[in-house]
Point group: C2
Chain length 618, copies 2
Amino acid sequence: MATASRAGTRLDLYRDLARQLRVDSIRCSTAAGSGHPTSSLSAADLVAVLLAGHLRYDYAAPADPANDHLIFSKGHASPLVYAMFRAAGAITDEELLTFRQLGSRLEGHPTPILPWVDVATGSLGQGLPIGVGIALAGKRPLAAPYHVWILVGDSESAEGSIWEAFDHGGHEGLSNLTAILDVNRLGQRGPTELQWDMAAYAARIRAFGWDAIVIDGHDLAAIDDALGRARRSERPTAIVAKTVKGKGVSFLEDKEGWHGKALDKDQAAQALKELGDGPARTFEVAKPPRWTRPAPRRTTPQLKSYTEPVATRKAYGEAIAALGAAREDVVVLDAEVSNSTHAEDFKKTAPDRFFEMYIAEQQLVAAAVGMQVVDLVPFASTFAAFFTRAYDFIRMAAISRANIRLSGSHAGVSIGEDGPSQMALEDLAMMRAVHGSTVLYPCDGTQTAKLVAAMADREGISYLRTTRGNTPAIYKAADEFPIGGSKVVRGGGSDDRVAVVAAGITLHEATKAADELATSGVKIRVIDLYSVKPIDAAALAAAAAATGGRIVVVEDHWVEGGIGDAVLAALAERGARDVRYRHLAVRRMPGSGKPAELLDAAGISARHIVAAVKELVA
Amino acid sequence: MATASRAGTRLDLYRDLARQLRVDSIRCSTAAGSGHPTSSLSAADLVAVLLAGHLRYDYAAPADPANDHLIFSKGHASPLVYAMFRAAGAITDEELLTFRQLGSRLEGHPTPILPWVDVATGSLGQGLPIGVGIALAGKRPLAAPYHVWILVGDSESAEGSIWEAFDHGGHEGLSNLTAILDVNRLGQRGPTELQWDMAAYAARIRAFGWDAIVIDGHDLAAIDDALGRARRSERPTAIVAKTVKGKGVSFLEDKEGWHGKALDKDQAAQALKELGDGPARTFEVAKPPRWTRPAPRRTTPQLKSYTEPVATRKAYGEAIAALGAAREDVVVLDAEVSNSTHAEDFKKTAPDRFFEMYIAEQQLVAAAVGMQVVDLVPFASTFAAFFTRAYDFIRMAAISRANIRLSGSHAGVSIGEDGPSQMALEDLAMMRAVHGSTVLYPCDGTQTAKLVAAMADREGISYLRTTRGNTPAIYKAADEFPIGGSKVVRGGGSDDRVAVVAAGITLHEATKAADELATSGVKIRVIDLYSVKPIDAAALAAAAAATGGRIVVVEDHWVEGGIGDAVLAALAERGARDVRYRHLAVRRMPGSGKPAELLDAAGISARHIVAAVKELVA
């Protein structure tokens, strides 16, 4: 009797909280005039039981490293997120009603400008793979006590990235990870593929190595039991909850045409009447266990310098290995190409902080985002071309204010025989257009090592573009390469006739051209634009001033969006006028061939630079 | 006895072909000095039985619409592709030995510069989702007799896109689609996640609604039986073949460290000795059934023109509906947001040519690529922001020389309350950097309709950027909008003080600014740059010449890679000098708010344009 009564009390508490979450989801979205109340209502019972019965989170101390992590992968259920924060006492009712207003922290989809939000969601299919990263980090290297809970929508299970996450969660045995699937049968424009075929969801998830518990997502006792089992399980668990979209409001329940639509005032009044609009209150949330995270050991990395030719991808591998030896917070992830990107060098140094993500670039970047949530310093690598696979994750990482470091190898036509599918020719354009990004493109080993070290302490999304083949040593161990800087490697006087701006592989073509031109008495300035973003506008403007505006840009990238565009924009913003410009970049679809053949065929080899310079000075 | 003997003969034939495929895979990669022989050897038996026993393909008539389709999703097995073409008599041995040389059609990974290759592969996880598109088209609207065979690597099953394809194949019941999984246990750098856990592969695939037949991938009779069952099955079928990487050569079999590595001459001689290097010959491939594809009905589309405000996304929906009514070859795909992109308008007109791809943008674009393989004219739509999810597929589509049309709605901060996760702010950068792409950004309904019609006949990847909110009607029904053109909507005389370049939503801010400036006597030229790529460099140069180089670009996009960069590049390539430039673009991370509030907060509203113009003329 006593047990039944306590259970009854607990269920009453859940019921009260669920009612309040529904009421507040409707109130805030109606006040905003937009939002997703019905997607919030379907999950309200799941979230109520989680918040009041299972989550361990100190809303007064969101930075507590022992806190559980809760991510709404279905970020459009933001009314429910904010209703939950209000119920937990984290925000006031007044703030709740600022939902979606200019300047409010309560944006249309949650972002980490709120201290209780780990990452931005709203592009579907990202929360679960990010959760994999947080759970991986919790398991090793952190050995943290937290549990990771991800609320997943049924519609977003059509995203392949969700299955990358189920795959990795299963493969790594992430017992500290629970996916809660809100199967409300309706997507934006109509029924989902599987509708309420709970057996099909469960079979898929189990085949990927997870436990699956199928429940009625409005049965508070069943939810309570499932969440408890999920936390105790020794395997990753998915709670597959059959729910009703718009649950609790008669005219919304399981109705099409209500996705992403707020109730008007009359409808809201009717809905609140049905739900019972009692006084709101604050609900207690369990605190996490006391756990102090050991401060990571950190010494100065012993970076190599190079006097012999080396591939910048190899120098990357050696630099992260040195970082890994010096800093316990550095982690490395790779997409099954670590022998090409040379991330394997790190694995040898710090195997417990190396993560094999297999050929799943979305999961690769998502896991990196997850790991920085818990203050690790992730470097993620694959072929530069294949980061295109994860562009949505990179874009969203910027909205998440994430600090991640990406290294893309095998850039440009200079890779040679493998052909265009393996050549990154759009990566500079893609990465420049990420908010707050840093884009680096080293030309030799010593420079690579120093830039990699700088990336470790860089905020935001930083990207390193590396080259497949060996390149000559240009720099000395004492040279410094501040982000936002550049180097003049030939010329530099007031008698330079033309400035050639290059980076990475083309820097070496430019120096060859400079040396050849020097023999015929034409002095040029060669600028190594290793920092493509931020860009050294001052050095470019000075070069333009010295050369009468004669600028050649040469890059192993498509014409659009790369170094050429960056240089012109920098000069224009700087107010440089009277620029005479030649742009050597890849303009035709390349095929296979030897690296030198392809550089020449693309018109970006030394002889083309010589010709462009001569044309400009003619 | 007679039957057993015929079977024996058939198996002998398969064995001979498999041997020859292995020999030629080694010969061509050794001649090239690079390539993936071991990945070819594991699949040689599968491909031999398919080619000689099951494929229906006229290698002398690759354009025959009844031909089966065979795609190597594991494109790195290109030696096997080319060995197969040689065995079928499509190429000579001499050409085979040009593998990976500059100018050869036999590139490192296959591309459609070869007439027997449908699409470029080499970025893993793409062949199967493209196959879904070809199979969907074959089922409806074409009702074609072809079967689609996709050779899938085990490593690439880690890509979520493979599971998007299994999901869609199962959901649509694509009985004309067979996936052949080459489970050779070894990836690039070591074992795959599942290694030879054949039961796990089969369970996953079956859970996604396919039949799975597990076989020994070197048992010719078992392969023969499985391929026959797959073609006859009324459901999509996966043949899950346990294979050995490097099969047939003792020192390669199941060995790590041999991925993507050619044998040297001595090793090749040893391998050929083991395989038995007999004389090569041509093998007969069954011809497809005779089938004439009806010519699609095609009339002139009845496009609407608009005199009242309308959202360009709505005008897009109405334009594709008109196209669909007029042309039987037009198909439309959408990623579960057709009520937002307005692709639903097409669905009402031509439901049999509308394809719901659910929230799976990679599969969305892949299916469009597949449909253009069989000469349909696909338009694919989702929120512009979510095409970032499919960037690798778009990049590869360009290498496939594919003709596809993408429409991205909800561009920029002007979407308002939903916040940054839903705002495309990098799409212009991303799409400009696609080889041979066309990038269009209309500002009103009439212009949208005409641009959509032009896209239908456009080669390559064309992209339309549409706006969420209503925009005023600017143009008349008789106005024309050639791709590569622009329009002067204010000013145009030699007394224009400044040229403001805008497109889409900001065009209306620019006209407001022009009208306000006119009241204070400052004449400006407003250029509607609806064709961002190709760009109207002549009009821009003329504007620069008329205004003393005073140019303002205003765009609802990040600073990098969009209209500003495009304009500067066009002016620079055109030799325009002495440009005084102001760039109004999104520089800070936006939040939620009303569209007008967000345009203003981003600094791209009319009042900011007025200020920039005043600054330039001061």
